[in-house]
């Protein structure tokens, strides 16, 4: 199809190359440098889709991101919804379609890469129009580190190329500045990069579109990048958005902002219409009109003001005029891409005379709204400027400078500043601020995308609404894709008129990020898939993988949960592992346990204050179990403490509690007791920890460490011993989390794989069985040892866990002690940790199940049913030959022997309350 509306001698697209694309199933051509919008307009296509609420035709309304209507769906190369046709660069083979107000998400995964990059500069300039270029060049010449962000593909902003700057064509000026900047290693100039958010302390986020415009992008390059720029000074040079004027049927395709038509001509060589009416109250439209005439269009100007300005030239101007309404092409003439397009306007001139004008394009210009979004993001105050008819920066904000049109400066000379000379321009005459013309208010669209009209605003005001925020919400004006860039102030202006008040008195809307919409994936960046959150692994992780371990996530760690053999499910594997441990010997990778080195003369003082039990009385060479509570008296962690020296302890925390407990201890040391001479260090990764557990563990340890006397008398329970293996120091501790004879082997993690293999080799004759966290949990539960965070939930005291023995009565204070004396702690009905045995000996109660009183008739009463507590842990026990559970139960310890009911899948399962210690209650097994 020919490009009927492309004008020779205009535009900077590469006409030597032709690109093909489809829109709504029809094939069109364009050129490199085109956007979808410019290519469609070059083909005479104005209508893109229909509006969301009224189904009225919608077309292209501007030439860049301020367009309130021209939304499309890209289907190929990859589906992406709700893009502005004006902002999508054309590449060969694109498939695009129009929208009816909603976009469609891809049903296939987006495999494109996204990332982020940090920058630090002295001066960040946002916008590469005349004001931005001058600011960037000046900063670079001062020797500063500079970033220049430009949302368009080429620098120059609103410069069309017809201007002169410093006596040369403006494009030459642009080229000169960008060349100078490119030669300066201190300057980063990023085109296609939209600053979308401005935050405190000179922080700006900007989205760079890096590959969509390339026909064959490098595979590893990120498609979009979020630049994170930290600048000492931010220069906002983002220009201004032209503002339309509201009249009846102002929503048709074929109605554009005036400067956009000029931009289309000079940038893309597209003449958007041949018979053009320009409706304006501002001078800028005249430059557009003149250029369009020069390019071959017939133009009639409808001037709101009583007089045409100086720059009107030979244009046909009707002054004091108003567009009353528009008409569309007749349905009979309907062609693809022209549905509903404007065909004529009804006009009233200054004398009140009404007449019609035929046209294929209506350009509108009602003045300019400074693009102060990025200033407003950092709480830069905006004030309504009566002359401008818009909000503009009211006061300066430290570290932020607003220049050029963004600050309401509308002439080129003003934008360029004193250092640069602009060519002669016609003197600007003041624009007239006009929000709308009289007419059928229900067809006067204020928010074209949301189908919101002047009538809607009138209804809102009539309903009693007085705040502009209420009016916005009532009408939904300003909530669409464009977020009211061009018409937000018009809505306020019309509401103010209706209320008989000033625009400023209605209150202003604060702009919030993002300035333009940003794809979720771009914000996710690299944090997707495996990189969504770090995976932490131990030094013997590869062994677990190689041996078929099934992993579970514990915090960020991957922990081996069990090691199924062929044909085994988890239950079978865990029963086998449990049997092996209690019947022989097993080995666990316990390296994820948190380890904290506590050193200094006051180490024991600190631990006495933080643990509920006494640690200062612990002897060097010994180990003690300890519990930590929050100030509220609730258990936050437990673990063992090894006294390494008078002034040194090793604190072992749970895997999940490691970072939290180190932080907790550090907080107390630093903020409450800075006088204590004690130092804390994480040594979690320093030490690989391998518990060797079971009645045969002594033989294994004895075989591996010939220098260690493993006899019970020489190396009793809850002690630790240092030994040396092949010159490498090793620490072995008699700690048991299973009730079995057990030795925890600690070694510098450099040697972890070697040590693991040694233990396996030595254990082979005894059938040593690697076991995972699930087996560990079963074994500890059989002994009634709680897991903090599983058998507790932040509302459980040590007493509730049956651990009064671990709460010192001698110490005058420790963290949490005072809270034990609160009235609620004396409640006999507090929940306590107990065992629970399903009386049918077969049902494994689901963890989390609630417990109710025995229902004699076997039927639950109607809700609400009082609950006694819940099942915290539940397993099948190889040792018991039956399932069992731990539970937190109201007054549980006083109720041992009672039968309660547990609703499971619609049935009531009877269970007997027992002690929480179900295996080896005498503790006979721990010494082998």
């Amino acid at each position: 199809m020919s490009s009927d509306f492309r004008v020779e001698g205009y535009g900077r697209v590469d006409r030597d190359q032709t690109l093909t694309f489809t829109f709504d199933g029809r094939t069109y051509t364009g050129h490199p440098g085109d956007t979808i919008a410019s290519a469609l307009l070059a083909n005479g296509v104005h209508t893109l889709g229909s509006s969301v609420k009224l189904g009225r035709p919608r077309g292209i309304g501007a030439s860049w991101t301020e367009d309130a209507t021209g939304l499309i769906q890209v289907e190929e190369p990859f589906p992406e919804p709700m893009l502005l046709a004006t902002a999508v660069e054309l590449v060969d083979g694109m498939v695009v379609r129009g929208l009816n107000g909603q976009g469609r998400l891809a049903q296939i995964p987006d495999t494109a890469r996204y990332d982020r990059k940090y920058h630090h500069v002295d001066t960040l300039v946002i916008g590469a129009g005349p004001a931005g270029l001058v600011a960037a060049r000046a900063a670079a010449r001062r020797g500063e580190r500079v970033a220049l962000l430009d949302d368009r593909a080429e620098a120059g902003g609103s410069l069309t190329g017809t201007e002169t700057i410093d006596g040369r064509p403006s494009r030459d000026f642009v080229a000169e500045v960008t060349t100078e900047l490119a030669g300066n290693a201190q300057v980063v100039h990023l085109p296609r990069t939209t600053a979308f958010g401005h935050y405190d302390d000179g922080f700006v986020l900007a989205l760079e579109r890096r590959t969509d415009h390339l026909s064959d992008p490098p595979a590893g390059r990120s498609r979009q990048r979020v630049h994170r720029v930290r600048a000492k000074k931010v220069v906002v040079a983002t220009g201004a958005h032209e503002r339309p004027i509201v009249f009846a049927d102002n929503d048709r395709p074929g109605i554009l902002l005036a400067a956009s038509a000029r931009d289309l001509l000079h940038r893309y060589g597209v003449l958007a219409g041949r018979e053009i009416v320009v409706f304006t109250s501002d001078d800028a439209a005249y430059a557009a009109a003149l250029d369009l005439v020069a390019a071959g269009a017939k133009v009639t100007v409808l001037e709101v003001r009583a007089q045409a300005p100086a720059g009107a030239g030979d244009l046909h101007v009707i002054t004091g005029a108003r567009v009353l309404s528009t008409r569309a092409v007749l349905p009979a003439d309907e062609t693809v891409g022209n549905h509903g397009r404007i065909a004529s306007v009804a006009v009233m001139d200054g004398g009140g005379h009404e007449f019609g004008l035929t046209c294929d394009l209506l350009l509108v210009s009602g003045g300019w709204n400074p693009t102060a979004h990025l200033f407003s993001h950092v709480r830069g105050p905006l004030a309504y400027d009566e002359a401008l008819g818009a909000f503009r920066p009211a006061r300066s904000v430290p570290g932020v400078e607003v220049v050029g049109a963004a600050d309401g400066v509308l002439d080129l000379a003003g934008c360029l500043g004193p250092e640069v000379t602009a060519g002669d321009e016609p003197e600007r005459t003041p624009g007239e601020v006009i929000w709308r013309v009289p007419g059928a208010t229900d067809r006067q669209f204020v928010d074209v995308q949301r189908d919101a009209t002047v009538a809607d605003i009138a209804r809102a005001v009539g309903a009693g609404l007085r705040s502009v925020e209420h009016v916005k919400r009532y009408t939904t004006i300003g909530t669409a894709h464009d977020q009211g860039k061009t018409t937000g102030v018009i809505a306020a202006g019309i509401a103010a008129e209706l209320l008989g008040t000033g625009v400023q008195d209605l209150g202003t809307t604060t702009f919030r990020p993002p300035y333009t919409p940003v794809a979720f994936a771009a914000l996710a960046g690299r944090e997707r898939g495996e990189l969504f959150d770090p995976v932490r692994t131990t030094a013997v992780h590869d062994w677990h993988v190689a041996h078929g371990a099934v992993f579970e996530d514990v915090g960020q760690w991957k922990r081996a949960r069990h090691y199924p053999q062929p044909g085994e499910d988890m239950e079978a594997a865990v029963l086998r592992e449990c049997t092996a441990v209690r019947g022989g010997v097993g080995i666990l990778d316990g390296s994820t346990l948190g380890k904290i080195d506590v050193q200094g003369p006051d180490s024991a003082v600190l631990l006495d204050r933080l643990y509920t039990n006494m640690m200062s009385s612990l002897k060097v060479g010994s180990v003690r179990y300890g519990v930590m509570c929050g100030v509220d008296g609730m258990v936050i962690d437990d673990g063992t403490v090894l006294r390494l020296a008078d002034d040194r302890f090793m604190v072992i925390t749970t895997t999940g509690g490691a970072a939290k407990i180190l932080d907790w201890m550090e907080e107390w040391v630093q903020t409450e007791w800075p006088g204590l001479r004690v130092h804390l260090a994480s040594v979690t990764e320093q030490w690989a920890v391998f518990p060797v557990v079971g009645p045969r563990s002594r033989e294994v340890i004895g075989a591996v460490f010939p220098g260690l006397d493993v006899a019970n008398a020489a190396f009793p329970f809850m002690t630790w011993r240092d030994t040396v293996l092949d010159g490498v120091p090793v620490r072995v501790a008699r700690i048991s989390f299973s009730g079995e004879l057990a030795y925890e082997v600690n070694v510098n993690a450099w040697y972890a794989p070697a040590m693991w293999e040694r233990l396996l080799e030595a254990g082979a004759p005894h059938g040593i069985t690697p076991y995972g966290t699930e087996t560990m949990h079963v074994l500890r539960a059989e002994k009634g040892y709680p897991i903090i965070g599983q058998d507790t939930d932040g509302t459980v005291t040590p007493h509730d866990l049956g651990m009064a023995w671990a709460v010192s009565k001698k110490k005058p204070d420790f963290v949490g002690k005072r809270s034990f004396a609160r009235p609620l702690n004396a409640d006999p009905l507090r929940k306590q940790l107990v065992g629970l045995l399903p009386t049918d000996s077969t049902t494994k109660l689901p963890e989390g199940s609630q417990i109710v009183e025995l229902c004699d008739d076997g039927v639950l009463p109607a809700p609400p049913v009082p609950m006694l507590g819940h099942v915290t842990s539940s397993y099948r026990s190889a040792a018991l030959g039956r399932p069992f559970a731990l539970a937190l139960l109201k007054g549980g310890r006083e109720r041992v022997g009672d039968i309660v009911h547990v609703p499971v899948g619609g049935q009531l399962v009877a269970a007997q309350i027992t002690s929480s210690v179900l295996v080896d209650p005498e503790g006979a097994r721990r010494d082998g």
């Binding site: 940090y118 590893g220 690299r526 495996e530 990189l531 770090p534 995976v535 002034d647 040594v683």
Partner: protein, 185 residues
């Protein structure tokens, strides 16, 4: 049974083999490291510790890195981990200081090449411009989603040492490899 307890690295040796030109990461061999705590450290050591925040200094057989107002990371090529700890602990113990072997706590990576600084800028929020982060500079900060200790080894922004918690090394390696895809043309 093997004769000696061999040492392992937490990363496969070839994990960084395919990095693009201009970027190199080497997994540094096992070096003894210790955490050292004492406010008046200079008085008890032969070496002058770096007292400026965010700096490191060379020692005869390694480095001392400032980690906090009374805290340093000491590396030693010549000493065994436990020797390093006991030497330092003897020196500071009487004054209420502390020394702890952390040789396996972190993995040491050497990042170098003309793209090194650019790669870091994809995941590190600090200003690493050589005029700011020059030889002798160090920082504890985040790279990607993990904490690291980062040292500038030259003044050109082309040579860095990264200490990363060993359990996060696999993540960081994945991150580096993923980020470096950018430079493959």
């Amino acid at each position: 049974m093997a004769d000696t307890l061999y040492r392992s690295q937490v990363l496969p040796s070839d994990v960084f083999a395919a990095l693009p030109e201009g970027l190199s990461v080497t997994i540094e061999s096992h070096v003894a490291m210790a955490g050292l705590r004492l406010r008046d450290l200079a008085e008890v050591l032969n070496t002058t510790p770096p007292v400026q925040p965010n700096t490191w200094a060379a020692t005869p057989d390694g480095q001392m890195v400032w980690l906090g107002p009374d805290e340093w990371l000491v590396t030693s090529r010549d000493q065994q981990p436990h020797e390093l700890e006991s030497t330092l602990r003897e020196a500071v113990k009487e004054r209420g200081g502390a020394a702890v072997d952390v040789s396996a706590q972190r993995l040491s990576l050497r990042l170098s090449g003309v793209l090194a600084r650019d790669l870091l800028s994809l995941g590190c929020s600090l200003d690493l411009h050589p005029s700011v982060f020059t030889v002798g500079s160090s920082a504890q900060t985040a790279l990607g989603m993990t904490n690291v200790v980062l040292l500038a080894l030259d003044s050109a922004g082309e040579d860095y040492r990264i200490f990363v918690r060993s359990s996060f090394a696999g993540y960081l390696a994945d991150w580096i490899v993923d980020a470096s895809a950018e430079y493959v043309n």
